[in-house]
Amino acid sequence: MLIRRPDACKSSEITPEQHYVGRRKFLAAAGVLGIGAVAGFVPNACAQDGQDPQVLGKPYGLQKDDKPTPWTDVTTYNNFYEFGTGKGDPVENAKAFKPRPWTVMVDGLVAKPAQYQLEDFLKPLVVEDRIYRHRCVEAWSMVVPWRGIMLADVLKRAQPTSQAKFVELTTLYDPQRMPGQQRSVLAWPYVEGLRLDEAMHPLTMLATGVYGRDLPNQNGAPLHLIVPWKYGFKGVKSIVRIRLVDRQPKNSWNISNPSEYGFYSNVNPEVDHPRWTQAKERRIGEFFKRPTLMFNGYAEQVAAMYAGMDLRKNY
């Protein structure tokens, strides 16, 4: 009997991947020997963008000494594994990415499922500029002036049915356009989820821009989920699908390492990551560490949603 998987021989996809992997291996080998590890200094230092664009928007939950993180840091220090696992990889590898034309599907347990062109998706909704605190699970933080729409508005338009309990958001899967997906670092496509009340919360945004400009590719263009009281990895990028479901979705980092990354991922200084403390954070651009705040400083607005929950278990 001849057993052949239909996807076994798409040569058009295999070849570029090998080139890609081969090139990476070569660069990595050079890196191990230290060639380039030293030369890599200069381009980093020149990453200045001239002047910072103007900070726009209303501050939400900022502490009195919170200042917006410079544009250069916001747009060059990114975790976006679809474009590489290094912090500087996305800005390099996402240069050629085209976030338009773009379609977004809103479906699942909704009265009005639809597939939208990005322009139609955004047009009727209110766009706001908001300055939020951002806390990465890796214990660094930023303050970012986002521009975007409220996820609640998107959901209301689709009219969730009474069975809808959770929202699942999915990144584009296209290894040609997102070279990081050619390596199985995570189970692609990247998926994140929120409880419906979290998704409907007035702080939960879909960013379309930053610093009053269109969202740069490395920041998750054209649509990037922002949930400021949760760790940054909840903020799924380059979203193509928003699906309402009745069961808690499996989120990518939880699938990849369940003991380290949970579903809720609320910023919590009292619950350590197994490998480091979450009680402190380094604000990008600052040397001395800051204490991390419960729910990243948004406790007043969101704590009620988690009343009675064991946050140590539901990390």
């Binding site: 890196g31 200094f41 480091w276």
Partner: protein, 230 residues
């Protein structure tokens, strides 16, 4: 020039006079760059190490520690391959630099990253495997650095000293495990370092095996000759 002739010339190469000083100066360059970049980034707000210089500098110095361990373990294969026996006396320099880099790596962690918060340092040390594995490796390296002088070789006796310094094989394994455990998800770089160490270990095992076989053949030949003679 044929490849063979090139190899012959390479083997015949004697130690250039500049080699020792150049090795020391070259070995200092990454450390000098790291210290300069960290100081400039932290004090002057430059971005030589990117947006999170402390983390980046910490990783940079950790990787250079592994590189110097690789360089140290490469001395013997290079001697065997190229006949450059003069390399042997530089092995200690390389090993001491590995210790220097691990010290800087740890100082960056303790002073700049954890900022000498004793509570956090202790919690890290007791609770987090990648921290205590790294720490054990560093302490073992310290014991080798302390006993690296000629005087110590004499005091310990060659055999005991050799046995102690075989700890480098344990240290490299601990170092690589520390690296594996420290990365979040992308283990490409740890795998790469691990495979280089694996190659250096395999080389030694292969050499040891062929030497043993050759010894056995010689022993057998002597035994035969003795038998015939008897």
């Amino acid at each position: 020039m044929t490849a063979n002739a090139f190899y012959v010339r390479l083997r015949a190469m004697r130690e250039p006079r500049w080699f020792g000083p150049a090795l020391i100066v070259g070995s200092c360059i990454p450390a000098a760059l790291a210290i300069g970049a960290l100081a400039s980034d932290i004090v002057g707000g430059t971005r030589f190490f990117g947006s999170n210089p402390v983390k980046e500098g910490e990783h940079f110095l950790g990787e250079w520690t592994l590189r110097f361990l690789i360089f140290t373990l490469s001395v013997t294969p290079l001697r065997q391959l190229l006949g450059w026996n003069w390399l042997a006396k530089h092995r200690r320099t390389l090993g001491l630099f590995a210790f220097g880099y691990v010290s800087l790596h740890w100082l960056t962690y303790a002073l700049l990253d954890v900022q000498l918060d004793w509570h956090d340092l202790m919690k890290d040390l007791l609770k987090r495997p990648y921290i205590y594995i790294g720490m054990i490796a560093m302490l073992l390296m310290a014991s080798l650095a302390i006993t690296s002088s000629k005087n110590m070789i004499r005091r310990l006796g060659g055999r005991r000293w050799n046995r102690l310094h075989n700890l480098i094989y344990v240290i490299c394994i601990l170092g690589v495990i520390h690296y594996f455990l420290a990365v979040k998800k992308d283990i490409e770089d740890p795998v790469l370092f691990a495979s280089i160490f694996a190659f250096l270990y395999a080389w030694r095992i292969w050499k040891w095996y062929t030497r043993r076989k050759a010894a056995a053949v010689t022993a057998a030949a002597i035994a035969t000759r003795t038998a015939i003679g008897a």
